[in-house]
Symmetry: C2
Subunit: 342 residues, 2 copies
DNA sequence: GGAGTATCCGGGAGCGCTCCCGGCCGGACG
DNA sequence: CGTCCGGCCGGGAGCGCTCCCGGATACTCC
């Protein structure tokens, strides 16, 4: 055998030669297949260790047709993304959950039109085995594009107009909103405003709907009591100011995310309103770094991104295993964590 | 030729057959090599388009020994990561800058010990051509591990004990801090406290040093005027409270990051201190979503993550091209953006 | 004792691509 | 007119791996 130069990475063939077995046996030992004697396995493992062998993934995936990588697509405008700690939590959770099933995460950001082309081109390049798509928004061309390439895909959060026939995991946004607003109604609040997130995404739409329906059910007219913002701190602050100007007598506000609630709290404090004395505040997300850390600590609807991602990953894995999973939405429950702000 | 089933992805061979040329010519046309007639090129391109061909990356990188993917490693504890918008900005910038040079970003989070093993195993798997490492902390075993695999690597921000001989791009943290504190001194402040970031990372250490030296130069004793926090909002709030308790008469505070400044502002407001009347506040990062959005808008040291990432990527690309780039630190300038908080 | 079976192993094919090499043209040049 | 050279093209090898298949051996069972 030609001695291989020092700085080149050893191949399976090298390991086999070193262990005194055939390439096939080495492969079997490394992938712990059956039908390898304990002795051979031992030798191969030792050889691999000694040579510092690690398999060439390109070669492997060329024949297995599996890359071991999953794309996580964040289809969201940059400003929202940067300011929303929930997204960061999602990325992190995605990384962990995928690592747990032995997959690598490849993050794709896709909001501008040129991103879309790049994203699609990448996905059809066969770099990944499957896709997790978060927070697609209305008129987002990505879902349709994904349907064309037939990559296994699971959505996290629905676009307003997402078609049937997809796999999707979401939280019970409307139910969470109802619970939050019911809590406010039951504690005697009557002029309950809301700061809703961007109405081109499913979650904010559902939360707004939950707020509206609960008010109507309680015999309260929701007209003029809602304001839309963009999930950022500054957006929340501005929306709160607008609400105060329009409805000076409001006694509660349901805010569509923790980050916007931080902004709303600031505006309320600037305006001299006491929370919860004058105005009760309830938000959504229950972010561990934000909700409990505010003054006063925020009552918030709790949703755990890891739970969502976990469900998405496990559905995706079943899809990859060729299981015939019926498409449809899996709705995860949320709970209300009551703190001092309400 | 055996007719290939409909749902299989077409190969280069298919494209060649369809175009009536050889596989070699098809390859040349697609990779726009020289020595292909315009006619052949035309036909190949049309065939590729018609068949919906996209090259198999595994096969390509098996022979080229290039994957076109770059790992971005965030070596930071989870809590910090989640609450620090600067990190999100870095991820985003990394994605963009890498996309601009035709590379894919593979994000790796690496803070726990088990992460390290996973990270190293992944990197030596040959999945990526190079690595960008952000914010390694003191005693982080990652840099040493990276040195062993000889993957081209560029660091963003230095660990306290990072060895010589690495490629690194960082901001002028100490200079930025000096500028911020000088600004406070010149506007007549004397009791200038600081809330420093975690002292196991280079940036917070340098910022603290800049604060200290500037005070000493101005004849002010820094003793008892500093508090360490963890880059989170809650941490900033707590540190501010501790400072107020210890030094009730402080008239300014230099905060090591925007997010911590948000927390400090809240504590100051809760304590009835007027900003900037009683206490001037200057922070670091100048995050677009935070600094200008606070009440009052924050004076902050401006640093642009894209600039840092751009420099890192361009160094890495030169490394990948086999250029013999001299190792060393590239220090980027920062500037002070003065707003109402000081 | 021969047929059948379970265990273990090696050889060979082939995944889809790039790249090298050699062959074939046609035009320029002595 | 023969030679040479540059543009253009096809065939083949080979990247490092997995997987199939057939051979070898040992062991069981009628």
């Amino acid at each position: 055998m030609v001695p291989r130069s020092e700085d080149e990475r050893p191949t399976l063939e090298d390991v086999a030669a070193f262990a005194g077995v055939s390439r096939s046996t080495a492969s079997r030992a490394l992938n712990d297949d059956a039908y390898v004697s304990a002795r051979s396995r031992e030798k191969v493992l030792a050889a691999a260790r000694d040579l510092g062998y690690s398999p060439n993934q390109a070669a492997r995936s060329l024949v297995t047709r599996r890359t071991g990588a999953i794309a996580v697509v964040l289809s969201e405008p940059e400003a929202r993304l940067l300011d929303d700690p929930y997204r960061t939590a999602v990325m992190r959770a995605g990384y962990r959950e995928l690592a747990d099933v032995g997959c690598q995460m490849v993050l794709l950001f896709s909001d501008t039109r040129e991103d879309l082309g790049r994203t699609v081109r990448f996905l059809e390049g066969g770099h990944v085995d499957g896709v997790l798509v978060f927070a697609p928004h209305r008129a987002d061309p990505l879902p349709r594009a994904l349907r064309l390439l037939k990559l296994p895909t699971v959505f996290g959060g629905q676009a307003a107009d997402l078609r049937r026939g997809v796999h999707l995991v979401d939280f019970d946004n409307e139910g969470g909103a109802r619970r939050a607003v019911t809590h406010l109604v039951e504690s005697g609040r009557r002029r309950i405003a809301t700061i809703a997130g961007p109405q081109d995404q499913g979650a904010p739409i559902d939360r707004l709907a939950g707020w509206r329906k609960t008010l109507v059910d309680a015999g309260i007219d929701p007209a003029g009591l809602s304001e839309e913002a963009d999930f950022t701190l500054a957006g929340g602050a501005k929306a709160m100011a607008a609400l105060l100007a329009r409805v000076p007598g409001l006694d509660a506000v349901f805010v569509g995310s923790d980050m916007m609630a931080v902004g709303a709290l600031r505006t309320l404090s600037d305006a001299g309103r006491d929370v919860p004395g004058d105005v009760a505040v309830v938000s959504f997300d229950d972010n561990a770094a934000l909700a409990p850390a505010m003054t006063p600590p925020l009552t918030s609807v709790h949703q755990d991104p890891r739970e969502q991602v976990h469900a998405m990953v496990s559905t995706l894995m079943r899809l990859l295993d060729g299981e015939d999973v019926a498409p449809g939405a899996q709705i995860l429950p949320v709970s209300l964590v009551v703190r001092e702000s309400s």
